[in-house]
């Protein structure tokens, strides 16, 4: 009782102290002196990066290390989920109406994903948004009663989940052996390399997100859909 009363006083007090410090830091960051910002540097180099969408060029060229590590984090999270036990029991198979709706929505999601992946070089879009749509297609299939969310069986699923990281690392290492440095694209090839990496990343992200929704190691194929 005493502890909980202490909590009701102490927590807001400490939080407002943290809030004051954070706001001060934010204020001085926003109103601070106008030095050379990364934004100007990044925007000036966008035309030679192989993608005219600035976010894509930062994501896959200037800060490609970040994106590589992020794909590795995604893979690690999926391994964690798989090691915690089997997937939850599948949902009830959907009735006629939902089934026919799903058979419309899922191809649409896949097409929209492909479009976002392709357009990501010039306009808003890219591997993450496209992967999210593929993941959403998997979640839709899982919710309508497919026990494996439309994913392939486990051996292929492993390949699919690792594909993004694998393609990324392989391209990086190849460039390194050619004497260019890890993930330093030659300008002539930049667009093709970025698109290759993005395609692998999209498939990986989609498969990982759908598998993460299932919430555990895939069940053996004998319990797969009839």
């Amino acid at each position: 009782m005493k502890a909980s009363r202490l909590q009701t006083v102490l927590i807001p007090l400490l939080l407002s102290a943290i809030g004051a410090v954070l706001f001060w830091a934010f204020w001085s960051g926003v109103t601070g002196h106008e030095g050379e910002r990364l934004a100007a540097l990044a925007l000036a180099r966008v035309p030679e990066s192989g993608a005219s969408n600035p976010v894509t060029s930062v994501l896959l060229n200037f800060r490609a290390y970040d994106t590589l590590m992020e794909l590795a984090v995604l893979l690690a999270a999926l391994l964690g989920i798989w090691s915690l036990g089997p997937a939850a029991a599948p949902y009830q198979p959907a009735a006629l109406l939902l089934n026919s709706l799903v058979s419309w929505v899922v191809p649409m999601l896949i097409i929209a994903g492909g479009y976002l992946l392709w357009i990501g070089g010039q306009a808003p879009g890219g591997a993450f948004q496209a992967g999210a749509l593929l993941g959403a297609a998997g979640v839709t299939l899982a919710l309508s009663g497919r026990p494996n969310a439309g994913l392939p069986d486990e051996s292929w699923l492993r390949v699919l989940a690792a594909l993004g990281t694998l393609v990324f690392v392989l391209i990086g290492l190849t460039l390194m052996f050619l004497g260019l440095g890890f993930l330093t694209y030659p300008p002539a090839l930049a667009k093709a390399l970025i698109l290759t990496i993005e395609t692998g990343a999209t498939l990986s992200i989609g498969a990982t997100l759908a598998a993460a929704f299932l919430g555990g190691q895939p069940r053996a194929t004998r319990t797969a859909e009839p």
């Binding site: 807001p12 943290i18 994106t67 009830q92 992967g131």
Partner: protein, 115 residues
């Protein structure tokens, strides 16, 4: 930097800081896993919101793409952390129901409208 942009940045950045603080408050004062997950996600949303506000350069200038790329990776990492936390929660529920058989209805087999 003009006055107008600064006001927008402060307004949205301040809102982001408030989301973060509210999330921290909820995270430490509420017990159930789903409440902690909502709190954690709102904390993350607050951080992203601050970054997006900092990147804003007015309606007719291109925003700073570097924070945008950071936020994009952050969103995906946040959702994978949520999925991992849920898998942990389900495993804990299963362990609990194995140790105390009188607790019913938390068995994992019952997850999903199983027929």
């Amino acid at each position: 930097m003009s006055h107008e942009i600064l006001i927008t940045q402060l307004l949205y950045g301040g809102a982001g800081l408030l989301f973060f603080l509210l999330g921290v408050w909820s995270f430490i004062s509420h017990e159930p896993l789903w409440r902690k997950l909502i709190a954690l996600n709102i904390m993350g949303a607050g951080v992203f919101h601050v970054l997006v506000a900092v990147a804003y350069r007015g309606l007719d200038a291109p925003p700073d793409p570097v924070p945008h790329a950071l936020v994009l990776t952050g969103i995906v990492v946040a959702v994978s952390a949520t999925a991992l936390a849920l898998a942990f929660g389900r495993r804990l529920d299963r362990e609990d129901s194995e140790r105390t058989p009188e607790v019913q209805g938390v068995d994992d087999r019952e997850d999903g409208t199983h027929v």
